[in-house]
């Protein structure tokens, strides 16, 4: 009985340690900056929405958000399209070189992207893709694709091959087979790939830090470092900014927590 009590206590303390800072973040976003000096914990009973207004009027913040949406969305489109195609071929057809190509894709998982940053920088400069969202999208896609292809080909392989034959007998082309029959069946895999790729891209600030220089191109996490410097002493506005950067993911996570957990641990459980 005492051990049961101990483990319950562990869970409750852990939950408080997680939730209190998150609550502090959200609550502080709704308070006037002046009110922090007297009591940092006061509840925002009378929400001070002007903080969010100020973040928005700042102008740059909206641009950062838009850029992050473009980069994350663009990467997702590239990753899902490429991984569906490659996963379909590698998971569904037996041909000479299949294992070799699969091996090549897997080597991509071994490379720590951060350490290849110098050649990548020079290569992007040479390709005229530096300081460009498109260049960043290609780099992110390349980083996420090995695991994405691995996951998708696993899903394609697990579908019974009778499906293909039945569709072929009915006169479906290979492309129709993929689009009409297989893609609807591998949707759970696509969800895992989407979360596995999109969250780290939305949250990343290292690659934008190196590759994007113009202020109008910066992404939200990179922009936050600028924003934090500007509003270091205005806590209300500061927390409103942090909240705006984090809230989209928190809300999505609360709706899709199981998929998030599966997606973000996909690399660890499958690898």
């Amino acid at each position: 009985m005492t051990s049961k009590f101990f483990f319950r206590a562990v869970l409750i303390i852990n939950s408080l340690l997680v939730l209190l800072p998150v609550f502090f973040l959200l609550n502080s976003a709704l308070r006037e900056t002046n009110s922090f000096a007297s009591n940092p914990f006061m509840l925002a009973r009378d929400p001070y929405w002007e903080n969010f207004q100020q973040v928005w009027l700042d102008g740059a913040f909206a641009i950062y958000l838009k850029n992050s949406l473009i980069v994350t969305g663009g990467s997702l489109v590239v990753i899902l399209t490429c991984a569906l195609g490659a996963g379909f071929i590698l998971g569904r057809y037996n041909f000479k070189g299949n294992a070799l190509i699969f091996g090549f894709v897997l080597t991509g998982m071994l490379v720590p992207a951060k350490l290849a940053i110098l050649p990548l920088f020079i290569q992007l400069k040479w390709m005229n893709l530096l300081d460009s969202h498109f260049g960043l999208i290609l780099v992110y896609s390349s980083g996420a694709l090995p695991a994405a292809v691995f996951i998708m080909s696993g899903f394609f392989r697990s579908l019974p091959s009778d499906l293909d034959n039945a569709a072929r007998i009915d006169g479906a082309s290979e492309f129709q087979l993929l689009r009409r029959i297989l893609i609807p069946l591998v949707r759970p895999g696509m969800a895992i790939v989407a979360i596995y790729s999109a969250i780290p891209i939305w949250n990343d600030f290292f690659l934008p830090l190196v590759f994007l220089q113009s202020p109008e191109n910066k992404t939200i996490m990179q922009g936050l470092t600028v924003f934090f410097g500007q509003y270091a002493s205005q806590w209300g506005v500061l927390f409103a900014g942090l909240t705006m950067a984090a809230l989209p993911l928190i809300v999505l996570y609360l709706i899709l927590s199981e998929q998030f957990i599966k997606g973000l641990t996909a690399g660890a459980v499958k690898g």
Partner: protein, 292 residues
């Protein structure tokens, strides 16, 4: 082939080729981003000479400390939380969701959130410490040499502990319930069951977590960069190999001059260290895993 080639081309151009060329960069002389001649092993030599040697050794020491601290604290806490959730009959889902929540946060948001909470004057953490009557313990946690790195490790723990917890929980749920039932019928205590049955069967989860922790610790960049800048402030107390690599590659706050050659040599060193460490670690850890 039409369907296969876009993925292969993207990986080839933006991962494989840069990864292979990064090795060659270490053997050239550089002026800015221009190659100006062959350097042989000179870049590696310079890494172990003044002024880089001291930075390098200090950064390496910090990475090692981070690895040890994370292995001990984060992994055992993760296991404890996983075991506690596993014991629950209902409510597993709620605690899973809460435990994993910080993992979805950006390290930039986490870093700044804690920086404000740890503010020496108005921050809530120091206020709590003061209110509890431990005035001497209220200090600029991130600003002082002795506490900066431990504080970063703590913030890292807050953000990451849910990850090993969920991996361990998945491992616990995969254990065949019959083993546990059989042991209970034989009169084993819960402690014995955990030590003799569950823990050995969790070895694959432990292998994965150890390897990922090793890689993460020796490539630690985001959190120290957000909170200590590229120099690992205060005064290099939070410097890491990856920060040093970044400074050498792209220049630091103090000087825009970069050292692409030495930076690449350091990159090769980190790559070998992480690759060999993860490879050897995986080999030995896999050996002690048992089949269910």
């Amino acid at each position: 082939m039409l369907l296969l080639s876009p993925a292969l081309a993207t990986i080839l151009i933006f991962t494989t080729i840069p990864a292979l060329t990064t090795l060659s960069y270490a053997f050239f002389k550089w002026e800015g981003f221009q190659r100006v001649g062959f350097a042989g092993a000179a870049n590696f030599q310079r890494l172990f000479d003044y002024p880089f040697k001291d930075q390098f050794l200090m950064a390496l020491r910090h990475n090692t400390l981070v690895f040890i601290a994370v292995m001990i604290l984060q992994t055992s806490l993760g296991l404890l939380i996983a075991y506690a959730i596993f014991q629950l009959k209902n409510g597993q889902r709620f605690f899973r969701t809460v435990t994993f929540l910080p993992v979805i946060f950006s390290l930039v948001v986490v870093g700044y959130m804690w920086q404000v909470m740890l503010d020496p004057y108005y921050g809530p953490i120091n206020m709590i410490i003061n209110d509890l009557g431990f005035e001497s313990l209220a200090k600029p946690w991130l600003g002082s040499m002795s506490t900066a790195l431990p504080t970063l490790i703590f913030i890292n723990l807050w953000r990451w502990v849910g990850f090993p917890a969920i991996i361990f929980l998945a491992g616990l749920n995969a254990i065949n319930q019959e083993y546990l039932e059989a042991a209970r019928i034989d009169g084993a205590t819960e402690g014995q069951i955990f030590r003799k049955i569950m823990f050995p069967l969790l070895a694959p989860s432990l292998t994965i977590i150890t390897i990922l922790t090793f890689i993460g610790a020796f490539e630690w960049f985001d959190l120290p960069f957000v909170l200590g800048g590229s120099n690992g402030n205060p005064a290099g107390a939070t410097d890491t190999l990856a920060l040093m690599f970044y400074r050498l590659s792209f220049g630091s706050v103090d000087s825009n001059a970069n050292e692409v050659g030495v930076g690449s040599a350091l990159g090769v060193f980190i790559f070998l260290l992480v690759g060999l460490g993860a490879g050897v670690g995986q080999y030995f850890l896999r050996k002690r895993e048992v089949e269910q």
